[in-house]
Amino acid sequence: MSTAILYSITGIIIFTVGLRGLVIYTHFLRKVLAINVMGTGIFMFLIALANRNSNGMPDPIPHAMVLTGIVVAVSATAFILALVVRLHAATGHTSFEAIHNDDRGAKL
């Protein structure tokens, strides 16, 4: 049982680490990775839940949720990467700030 709690707490910590990354990093790729880290934290948390039955049988539903979640995460990552590549090709920049500043510079 304590393993499950340890896993859950680890999951929460990973989620916060990812959240921090999403907020403070400006590079698109880092933001994408941060989102993935957040997702991983949640999956960890869900997997820990599967182990809470007293009879030792794992609960299948969290597994199903994690599997679905992974599929969503993979497609999300692919999707955002495609967007970022397009943005980079069009502007040559890889962060909101850089594009924004450039825009302003061009107008001046």
């Binding site: 859950s8 989620f15 959240l19 999403l22 698109f28 933001k31 989102i35 957040m38 997702g39 949640i42 948390f45 869900l46 839940l49 809470r52 609960d59 539903i61 969290p62 949720m65 679905t68 979640g69 969503v72 497609s75 999300a76 999707f79 955002i80 967007l83 970022v84 397009r86 943005l87 069009a90 502007t91 909101f96 594009i99």
Partner: protein, 506 residues
């Protein structure tokens, strides 16, 4: 065959848009467009049917594949979900008709430009139907994890729709939208995890019976609410919405502002007042109310400062979302006002969907004709483009809350709830917000009524686009004239005691 469709109608409302989405993608632009329009009409008929059956035989549940909860996923049909389905179908059909004209080749445009529209048209239809399907899942599903998946389907299609134009602005808005909406989904999912860890069920109905107040419940509800607030773009996390809604092609703006906003708001209402009723603290409702209040005033003031019509409408959406969130503090008050708060908030959200979709369609038509949407250059539009300006004025009536319109009924009910629960400040706020809305709507109308600049060129707007925007705005008005029907539907299996509707102290 008809028997099968009839008995599984609710599943078909989910299956059909996804199927058509795939078909549209494979068929290419020309046939895809046809498939799209036909599907939209079939979906409308289907949902109307569902509405009638719910009206006649009450709420129902349907276990997908015969596997009922807790292991399987249930579809639940009650007044609220049927109402949402129905209005999504009506608004969706008008938008589809509009898009039918919007993505066609434009006479008088250069070839490359037309090619660009053709390309957008090819991808619009599949993405739009995925979004529609996702919304229908959202309204019907009774499983909080399944709902998460639905939210993601809606978000991804919406983001792709925002990026449809391919310009730097569009890509940037889409990227910003992506990060925020995904953050929202993940936070929501985390909340789902917490709930499951405490209660071991995912079904909304089952959760309602087992949920108890406590630390974990509070954390879970907070996370889920936070996630949905981000997705609904309530102040202070609204900044992603205006660029995303304004930079998209007009039919997409209509979808986003009209339907997608309504979807996540619906979910929040469903969770708070059905599943979490016993657990929610009134303070939390007040907090959402304060955020809503700031959104109403701030959004409207920002809308007033915009020089582009679509940007103005997008900020107006921010303000109108604020109105919807007044439902939370008003419903948490005493019991006399509850029915009004519940009815008013939901009524407001559906009338906003109709009115805002219509307004964005008109904005798109104006852009189609003039090639820009700078408000100060709209002189003489009322004369050259009367149907559009008329449709905009009707939609504006609903946004301002003038009678007879859906927005008026919604505001009236919210105002009444505020009066009955003694929360005067909200009543004043509702009125103040209406006046601000009048300022930004009439700012546009006034310029269209000015005498035209001679010799300005404009493309001819296809009648199909004009009529669909007009039809949409008529619905916004119709909601003010035939309010009994939606409200009767809303009463079916309503979580709030609706009979206390005389609503006066005597």
């Amino acid at each position: 065959m008809t028997q099968i469709i009839a008995s599984h109608a609710s599943v078909w409302t989910i299956m059909l848009p996804f199927l058509s989405g795939v078909l549209c993608f494979m068929a290419g632009r020309r046939i895809g467009t046809l498939i799209g329009v036909v599907t939209a009409f079939i979906l409308t008929i289907l949902t109307l049917n569902l509405g009638v059956s719910v009206f006649q035989s009450g709420p129902s549940r349907y276990a997908i594949g015969g596997w009922s909860s807790p292991l399987g996923i249930d579809i639940h049909l009650d007044g609220l979900s049927v109402l949402m389905l129905g209005f999504t179908a009506i608004v969706g059909t008008c938008i589809s008709m509009y898009a039918f004209g919007y993505f066609k080749d434009r006479k008088g445009l250069k070839k490359e430009k037309n090619k660009h529209y053709a390309k957008m048209g090819t991808y619009f239809w599949p993405l739009w139907f995925f979004a529609w399907g996702g919304l229908n899942v959202l309204f019907l599903s009774s499983d909080i994890f399944n709902i998460y998946v639905a939210l993601e389907i809606v978000s991804f299609s919406a983001i792709a729709l925002v990026a449809l134009k391919g310009s730097v602005d569009a890509l940037l808005s889409a990227t910003r939208y992506f990060f925020l909406t995904l953050l929202g989904s993940l936070v929501y999912l985390f909340g789902v995890g917490f709930l499951y860890s405490a209660y071991g069920v995912l079904d909304l109905g089952l959760l309602e019976t087992v949920i108890r107040p406590g630390m974990i419940s509070t954390v879970a509800i907070t996370l889920m609410t936070l996630g949905l607030i981000i997705k609904t773009a309530l102040f202070p996390i609204h900044f992603w919405l205006p660029p995303a809604h304004a930079n998209a092609p007009a039919p997409v703006s209509a979808i986003l502002s009209g339907l997608v906003v309504m979807g996540s708001f619906y979910l929040l209402v469903r969770l708070w007042f059905e599943t979490f009723t016993g657990v929610i603290m009134p303070v939390a409702g007040q907090l959402l109310g304060v955020l809503g209040a700031i959104a109403i005033l701030g959004g409207a003031l920002q809308a007033l400062r915009q020089s582009r019509l679509k940007m103005m409408l997008a900020y107006s959406t921010v303000a109108q979302i604020g109105y919807m969130f007044l439902l939370f503090p008003l419903l948490a008050g005493n019991s006399i006002g509850q029915g009004f708060a519940w009815g008013g908030g939901i009524y407001f959200s559906i009338s906003h969907a109709c009115a805002k979709a219509a307004a964005f369609m008109v904005a798109g038509s104006i852009m189609y004709a003039l090639g820009h949407d700078r408000i100060k250059d709209f002189r003489g539009l009322a004369q050259r483009f009367p149907i559009g300006v008329f449709a905009f004025a009707l939609a504006g009536m609903s946004l301002m809350g003038l009678p007879p319109s859906g927005g008026f009924i919604g505001k009236w009910m919210l105002l009444k709830a505020a009066m009955l629960t003694g929360q005067w400040w909200y009543a004043l706020l509702i009125v103040a917000g209406s006046i601000l809305a009048a300022c930004y709507i009439f700012r546009v109308l006034e310029i269209t009524l000015k005498a035209a600049n001679p010799g300005e060129k404009a493309l001819h707007i296809p009648l199909r686009m004009q009529l669909s925007s007009l039809a949409m705005s008529f619905f916004a008005i119709l909601l003010g004239l035939a309010a009994t029907i939606p409200l009767e539907i809303l009463k079916i299996d309503s979580p709030v005691f609706f009979q206390s509707m005389e609503g006066f102290i005597k």
